[in-house]
Symmetry: C2
Subunit: 334 residues, 2 copies
DNA sequence: CTTGGCACTCACGAGGAAGGAGTGCCAGTG
DNA sequence: CACTGGCACTCCTTCCTCGTGAGTGCCAAG
């Protein structure tokens, strides 16, 4: 049904349309790409592609534009992720390596992605639940006051101040450290509750009351409040493509303000090691139905870019992949 | 030169224009507002106002619209900041009081402001430099490793891990606490360097090497890296007024992504206790020349809203003031 | 100083008409 | 059977014209 040339025609349509933002007609297409056939033949192929739902035309006498389904086919079968050039790679690496802390890594990644792709960039902070405990420090602030500081391997730090029902001694606090420390060190945050489940039984009775308080705070810090944060940038790029979303800029901006929506966007990745593309209607998020999203995991979090369905998938996919890899390496090595 | 009626005419023009987004003519104006004079008279006044540069008309036979200068006069002399209604106040208060931590306070403030004003809201995190030290904790992580945790009265927490050149004992750390604690407690962060300047001399010689290391880190945390953060929200509201900035939405979005620009925006306030308004060309930031900014300090930081010059100054000023006050109280009380 | 009257200006929208890009279909050809 | 050139047709886009009306500026009278 879809022979090679038809696929080639589809590719040409997508590429031309991405380039010019104008419906592409049979004549110009036959000329510009060296298809070696006449416009009439191209027209026949186009008719076939349209029957299958890969392209449409806005009105009778206009050229063709790809449908979401067409882009999907293009992404799945036609676009080879073009590798970045050596200078590009170096630029990415050196730019990211200049980061001084976690915040900086994320901020730089957002900047980098939005500049590379000319789209809106979204980067999730490393998810607490997927990272490992590097250190839990218990600080004795006052006789009945503790501060818990949790440091993860992704460089993230969470702290809580805790009022105790009773006064505790320095010795008690030291004991606490000794019971929590070994169990938590190196544990993934999702596994922590299990690792701590036998604590109340294993601890000396005198410590029980304090321990329960501390335990509940630790658990809530670890689990209850994942507090997923997201950085976003390059929204100004949306106006660059203003022609693509006729008047639907508002819902896009609104969606971008919803942390939850963004997390879902980034989190819906199945295979954690490959670039993932959601095209137009495939998006579960109302209001992003006219956009495409290219995402990838970098390990303890995800990142990606968002733009009009009429985007340079090939380029964006490679940019996202490259940045995700570098960020992943950076955090793993840090 | 500008008698009372002319001012009244200006007010009417501003209010009508803000309302309808259409140039307002002499006839409709004379009718809708009970000026008690004929359109012809209004025309004369308008001509005068135009001579003075308070209003213009887009083309010969269109109504008048206020200039930046006109809005300025309106804000300075004509608009009384209307107090919020009791239910509004309660709503603000209860919404903000639900916040669980500093991040939450800021996030909620942004939401609140953008919803109240239907504009873009900007809230600065409490500036470290303007807040006071509540507690400096020194944690002995490993023989030659310390963690410094700085807690400020605005609920902010900063921590640094520090590798020492030599091993230190628990006793040393305890001594360190004793020398730093009293000097820092309650000191404003900007004053801290002065408060600590005599430390090297006052401390026992044995502590000197460690102390210098710690001191330099503390100072850098306090001063060198103010790390001003900003939260922003309601950008989608910009599209609501898309008609106001014909095609200048891009530079606005771009400016909003520049932390530095935003800080300048919020920081340029002279009198810390009143609402401050920057109108159109008054803005020092290129790209925000078609917008107005309403800001106010809440104590250790600032907040405000940004929108088209054609905005409800009166309402926005009162909203900003109200939120700033509540946030200020909240942080002071916390 | 205010008012009604009046001529004038000019953006805006409706209504065509010409132009042209692009299509679908068909009959002919290798 | 696939490809090609030809041709009639569609209908969007652009440009022009023209009427309409809101609004102005000015002037003379109250």
């Amino acid at each position: 049904m879809l022979d090679d040339r038809k696929l080639e025609v589809l590719r040409a349509i997508v590429e031309d349309f991405v380039d010019t933002n104008e419906p592409v007609g049979s004549k110009t297409l036959a000329e510009r790409h060296g298809l070696g056939v006449s416009p009439a033949t191209v027209r026949n192929d186009m008719a076939a592609l349209e029957d299958e739902g890969f392209i449409t035309h806005p009105h009778t006498s206009a050229g063709r534009i790809p449908t979401d389904k067409g882009y999907r086919l293009f992404v799945d079968r036609l676009s080879q992720v073009k590798p970045l050039s050596q200078p590009e790679k170096r630029a990415i690496q050196s730019f990211l390596e200049g980061a001084v802390d976690l915040d900086d890594v994320v901020t730089r990644s957002v900047r980098l992605l939005s500049q590379l792709t000319q789209q809106v960039a979204v980067v999730q902070y490393p998810s607490l639940s997927r990272s490992e405990v590097r250190h839990l420090e218990i600080v004795h602030l006052a006789p009945n006051r503790l501060m818990l500081v949790l440091i993860t391997d992704s460089g993230r730090v969470e702290q809580r101040v805790l009022e105790l029902p009773a006064v505790v001694s320095d010795q008690d606090v030291s004991d606490l450290r000794n019971v929590f420390g070994p169990r938590l060190h190196g544990a993934r945050l999702v596994d922590a509750p299990r690792a701590l489940s036998d604590l109340p039984d294993a601890a000396p009775p005198s410590l029980r009351p304090v321990l329960t308080s501390v335990l509940s705070v630790v658990l809530s810090t670890l689990v209850e409040k994942p507090e997923e944060r997201i950085a976003i940038g390059g929204t100004a790029n949306l106006t660059r493509h203003a022609l693509d979303f006729p008047m639907t800029l508002r819902p896009v901006l609104e969606a971008l303000e919803e942390q939850v929506v963004l997390l879902r966007l980034i989190g819906e990745v199945n295979d954690p090691t490959t670039v993932h593309v959601k095209i137009g209607e495939e998006n579960s998020v109302e209001g992003l139905r006219s956009t495409s999203v290219v995402t990838m995991n970098y390990g303890p979090g995800g990142l990606g870019v968002l733009g009009p369905t009429r985007m340079d998938y090939s380029g964006n996919m490679s940019s996202v992949r490259a940045v995700a890899r570098y960020v992943g390496d950076l955090l793993a090595g840090a």
